[in-house]
């Protein structure tokens, strides 16, 4: 089933104008509500970030003090630390996810194994992130499982300190939950590549590595880009791993929000939010431009139809 039914629907539209226009009006109304009620508040952070705050109300005078507030030493340090951790974890996710997604899409036949693996990659989206993060504490803690095992087997004499409430713990806590966000887009984009294309490349004498480099990789690019965005951007605002596993030793941007809001410095919190929003929009635009230069990625609808 290709674009045919859609084409049939649109050409038929003039024949039943009233019903269709009513439904279109409903979509339009919802979209207006969505833009005004959801997207506008998010974008309004940029406006709020240059206002002065008095409690939770804002005074309409432009001030760049909020930005000065978030770029003081220790906060900029938090921002940079967050960027570094997110970059490292995203890179790790890519290394773990790309071969696996490729294998899921092109190395594994349809069947029970594949279905079960895919379900395993869906489930975590809907489970409480905090509940599955607190368990790292008794596993990694000073008197936890790993230290007990290490000490009773005589590998170490004293408990290893850096396992919990450290950057190490945050990395460990982030890798699991964000793995599916990296796998899914790559899996979908690789699944869309026609097997015949890969076979043709192999039959023409290209090695597996050459096929990967010149056939699969370029076609998987939109999925890789989407995977990076879906992984890195939400991770920038993650407050769960850093709060539960950083233990106040390692604070990330999310705790920055907490501090600023507790200090009632709302414009500065908005400034921090705008910075995140800026990173998000910039990444999206850059990746959009890069993909357009390559001739555009597959339509999201194409991905769902197969």
């Amino acid at each position: 089933m290709s674009a045919e039914p859609i084409a049939a629907g649109t050409t038929a539209a003039p024949r039943r104008p009233r019903a269709v226009s009513l439904e279109r009006a409903a979509v339009a109304a919802l979209t207006v509500l969505w833009v005004v009620g959801v997207l506008l508040p998010i974008l309004s952070l940029i406006v709020i970030s240059v206002l002065q705050g008095r409690g939770l109300s804002f005074i309409w005078t432009v001030s760049f003090q909020p930005y000065a507030d978030i770029f003081v030493d220790y906060r900029i340090e938090t921002v940079l630390r967050t960027l570094r951790i997110v970059a490292v974890v995203t890179a790790i996710e890519f290394v773990l996810a790309f071969p696996f997604a490729l294998w899921l899409a092109k190395g594994l036949r349809e069947g029970w194994t594949k279905s079960i693996l895919l379900v395993f990659l869906v489930v975590p989206f809907f489970l409480s992130p905090a509940a599955r993060t607190i368990v790292w504490r008794p596993i990694l803690g000073r008197e936890g499982l790993i230290n007990t095992a290490l000490m009773s087997s005589g590998i170490t004499d004293a408990p290893v300190d850096w396992l919990l409430f450290s950057e190490f713990a945050i990395h460990i806590g982030l890798i699991g939950p964000y793995f599916p966000s990296m796998v899914w887009p790559i899996f979908i984009s690789v699944s869309l590549i026609d097997d015949e294309l890969i076979k043709a490349s192999r039959d023409l004498g290209a090695t597996a590595a050459q096929t990967l480099r010149h056939v699969v990789l370029p076609l998987a690019m939109p999925g890789i880009a989407a995977g990076v965005i879906f992984t890195a951007i939400p991770m920038l605002g993650d407050n769960i791993a850093s709060t539960l596993l950083g233990g106040g030793q390692v604070s990330l941007i999310a705790e920055g929000f907490d501090d600023l809001i507790r200090a009632m410095n709302f414009p500065a919190a908005a400034a921090l939010g705008s910075t995140l929003l800026g990173v998000f929009i910039l990444t999206a635009v850059l990746i959009g431009l890069a993909l357009r230069r390559r001739g555009g990625g597959p339509d999201i609808f194409a991905g769902m139809k197969q």
Partner: protein
């Protein structure tokens, strides 16, 4: 066709590279599922904070229902109420939008508008709603604002559930029904609805679960209300003696969520 075609349809993988890919995926899946399994095991442990599951006991599960410890019941009711409302709202909106979207020619912009919030950090959405509605408009936050942020979180997923079935919907069926004299309402109920049903069911389950387990968006918009994830969050972040109970409570919620997810994915997969 090369000999490798036996094992892998497209011939990119050899035995070794396939094993490497599986190994890398397995590392991530272990990091993902070890805490989930660990939670389930430790909830039966007499000393859950030691990380060692034995000796086993049901003590914490019983303790959950005793006097003071049963304070999670109120938040549970709040979370279920919000979850049901969000599920209803998000699924309804997703059906209205999702069944029309494949017919709209310039749908790229609409998709971006609805799906972009999926990527935004949750905490950012929560703060934006707090500042805009509470700060700029002066409306008190509370039940409604939690419903709103959960709706923002659930709608993109709900929409994807509907789109998975609606893009494959053949609109000539509706024309045939109309030619046979069915009015618009009958066309929807008798033809479209049964075909969209797997997507709608999945959307109902997933939207509920997304709302029920949501934390970062709730943190700043909850006003005075306490949802179950917020209750668990404060209890577990506080290093309190409640933590052992939290394991048991979280294990129950996680098991229930797991069952709902399996039902929903089964329904959605069967439609494909």
């Amino acid at each position: 066709m090369s000999g490798g075609a036996r094992r892998n349809p497209a011939g990119i993988f050899t035995g070794t590279t396939a094993a490497l890919a599986v190994l890398l995926g397995a590392i991530a899946l272990v990091l993902l599922y070890a805490p989930i399994a660990g939670l389930a095991l430790l909830s039966f442990s007499a000393r859950p904070l030691s990380g060692i599951p034995w000796p086993m006991t049901l003590e914490w599960y019983f303790a959950l229902f005793e006097g003071e410890n049963a304070r999670w019941v109120g938040p549970l009711i709040t979370s279920v109420a919000i979850g049901l409302l969000v599920s209803l709202l998000a699924t309804t909106a997703a059906v209205i939008i999702g069944r029309m979207l494949p017919l709209i020619r310039r749908r790229g912009g609409l998709l971006v508008a609805y799906l972009s919030v999926l990527v935004m950090p949750g905490i950012l959405v929560g703060i934006a709603v707090l500042f805009f509605y509470r700060g700029l408009l002066g409306i008190r936050t509370g039940f409604w604002s939690v419903v709103l942020v959960h709706f923002i979180w659930a709608l993109p997923f709900a929409l994807l559930c509907i789109l998975i079935v609606s893009v494959r919907f053949d609109h000539r069926l509706l024309e045939a029904a109309r030619d046979l004299g069915a009015d618009r309402y009958r066309q929807f109920v008798d033809i479209e609805l049964p075909l969209l049903k797997p997507g709608i069911t999945a959307s109902v389950f997933f939207s509920f679960l997304l709302s029920f387990n949501e934390l970062p968006r709730t943190l700043y918009t909850r006003g005075g209300i306490t949802t179950l994830p917020y209750y668990i969050w404060t209890a577990s972040a506080a290093h309190s003696s409640q933590v052992s109970l939290i394991y048991a409570l979280s294990a129950i919620i996680m098991a229930a969520s797991f069952v709902l997810i399996l039902i929903a994915t089964r329904i959605l997969m069967r439609s494909n």
